[in-house]
């Protein structure tokens, strides 16, 4: 498939899922109610469609795109098909920030948890960016990432450990499982600057990711400012991951699986894969959110649970099919 055809196909899927995200939900709407929703801004149907479902669907698309893009950048940077936005500990940092904010009783203040999550993710991202500029080998960065993830996970467990109230525990847990339910435009708007800057940095880093296909040493002498491009890739992916965790909690597998879904279509090129990965991420997460709404359960399924539940087998299937081409 040509890259433009792949992007067109994925864009159509995004539009279709956006429409489905508006029309499908726990409250079924009749044709008459739908017509009313568009005609009468004061109607209940209008409220459901434009104040609840539209921002929720938008949040799912935005978070999915950010995770898909961050995953593609991480895989290109680390030359590793197993890398995902969480591999370097940025999600772990965001999770810790949110857990701290919740246990400090900041649940009531608007944006406090999201702000704490983003700030913690950015702190980890800044540290990683500095390390990426100092050390050239991807293995080094992965080892630091594993150390960060473990340490931040331990700190989050410590928050659980010292948390006196079971209510707080339940809240932290619910947040960590991931969701885009009840998101409004303000929630999306708050993360928009981080998403735009992160996306811009990733676009800037794209040519460096392509050069890294040759290996670190060849790339270092390729003529591109690799130190700067690598730092931009880490900073960009961290911003995207931090902002999406702040908006929707921890949602696994989208960032890992989205690049694999489109890799063959992008000709294996780690630069050309960025846009289709973002689109595929949006498609995956919007579909997962619709599934979370429609699967009849007493408690609504959390998004992170759905993506892992469906994402892991899907990922195994992709890995099975891709294994042949990796071996070469």
């Amino acid at each position: 498939m040509r890259p433009w055809a792949l992007n067109l196909l994925l864009s159509l899927a995004v539009v279709a899922l956006a429409a489905a995200g508006l029309l499908l939900g726990e409250t079924p709407l009749s044709h008459a109610q739908l017509a009313q929703a568009f005609a009468d801004p004061a109607s209940g149907a209008h409220e459901v469609l434009f104040a609840i479902r539209l921002p929720r669907t938008a949040a799912a698309l935005v978070v999915g795109a950010a995770l898909g893009l961050a995953g593609a950048v991480m895989q290109g940077l680390l030359r590793n098909p197993l890398a995902d936005p969480g591999v370097l500990g940025v999600s772990g940092g965001a999770g810790l920030g949110a857990a701290l904010a919740i246990s400090l009783g900041l649940v009531g203040s608007a944006g406090a948890i999201e702000g704490a999550a983003l700030a913690a993710a950015l702190a980890v991202g800044a540290l990683l960016t500095w390390l990426a500029a100092r050390f050239r080998e991807p293995e080094t960065l992965i080892l630091f990432g594993v150390a960060f993830s473990a340490f931040l996970g331990a700190l989050t467990s410590l928050v659980f450990n010292f948390s006196a109230s079971p209510v707080t525990l339940a809240e932290v847990f619910a947040w960590l499982l991931g969701s885009v339910a009840n998101r409004d435009w303000a929630d999306i708007g708050r993360e928009l600057p981080a998403l735009i800057i992160g996306g811009g940095l990733c676009a800037y880093a794209a040519r460096g990711l392509v050069m890294l296909t040759l290996g670190e040493e060849a790339a270092a002498l390729s003529g591109l400012p690799m130190t700067r491009l690598r730092a931009a890739a880490v900073a960009g992916a961290s911003l995207l991951t931090g902002a999406s965790v702040a908006m929707a909690g921890i949602v696994g597998f989208v960032g890992l699986a989205a690049p694999h879904l489109v890799r063959a279509g992008a000709g294996g090129d780690p630069g050309r894969i960025l846009v289709p990965s973002a689109l595929a991420g949006a498609v995956l997460l919007a579909a997962a959110d619709i599934a979370a709404r429609l699967i009849p359960t007493d408690q609504e399924l959390k998004l992170g649970v759905v993506t892992a539940l469906f994402g892991a087998p899907l990922f195994a299937l992709i890995a099975w099919r891709a294994a042949r081409s990796w071996r070469g």
């Binding site: 296909t213 060849a218 591109l224 294996g268 090129d269 081409s325």
Partner: protein, 252 residues
């Protein structure tokens, strides 16, 4: 002016010196082979000359300019490098990989040069094939094509013959000689001493991180040096196809 110069270069890894006060100058149009047993410091010498390994003493210069003071694009315009490591991350097509040698050229020109270089290495038919679907030798030739695409005044190739069949080895080294004929300086490491004697204008023998000999191949690879640096009993015999080395392991 020398295309590449090392002056008293010492490289340490921890407390151990991997390269000790090595001095070497390579002129445009010259093909210089760096030979030596495993662990002699051949790759480190190339990396030091290109600014990839930190010098604890001495200087490395490209075209008369200290390499550490060059910007990334300046350095790439002065030297192109084929590392020993041939692992490719993703299954991009051969021509895309080859075109990465021309980082500062418009895409159409980079593609044109990549296709021409792939034809030179004998892979014109495989330009659109994914590199991870190729054999190791074909992949090595794609990377050689990327080196040629740069059209740099200095080509540095670490083991350009490794993993190639005998015909492709001769082809690869002939292509590097062609580059020298157009005026480029060429530095390469080789394990096959007869191939080095056939290809190089000059051979530098490294042993334990120091230069043991430097000169025309058959002189630099004298019986004394073969014994000292390689632990070989060897001698050269002139044939119509060039000098041939007959050698056996020294009895200890």
């Amino acid at each position: 002016m020398s295309a590449l110069a090392l002056v008293g270069a010492t490289v340490r890894r921890g407390a151990r010196a991997v390269l000790t006060r090595v001095s070497l100058a390579v002129e445009p149009g010259q093909v210089v082979g760096v030979v030596g047993p495993n662990g002699a410091g051949k790759t480190t010498l190339l990396r030091a000359a290109l600014g990839l390994a930190h010098l604890s003493e001495g200087r490395a210069e490209l075209a008369g300019r200290e390499v550490s003071g060059l910007s990334d694009p300046e350095r790439a315009r002065l030297a192109a490098y084929l590392p020993q490591e041939r692992h490719l991350g993703w299954n991009m097509t051969a021509w895309r990989i080859a075109s990465l040698g021309a980082f500062d050229k418009p895409p159409a020109l980079a593609r044109e040069r990549a296709l021409a270089a792939l034809a030179r290495v004998g892979l014109a038919d495989l330009a659109d094939r994914g590199v991870l679907e190729m054999s190791g030798g074909e992949r090595a030739r794609v990377l050689l094509a990327r080196l040629l695409v740069a059209e740099a005044p200095l080509l540095v190739a670490d083991e350009p013959a490794a993993g190639l069949d005998p015909d492709a080895q001769l082809l690869a080294l002939d292509l590097l000689r062609e580059e020298a004929a157009r005026g480029a300086a060429v530095v390469l490491t080789l394990h096959d001493l007869a191939l080095a004697a056939r290809t190089c204008d000059r051979v530098v023998v490294l042993a334990h991180g120091s230069v043991a000999a430097d000169g025309p191949p058959v002189e630099a690879l004298s019986s004394a040096i073969l014994a000292q640096a390689f632990d070989l009993d060897g001698s050269w015999h002139e044939t119509a196809a060039g000098p041939v080395l007959v050698s056996r392991r020294q009895r200890s």
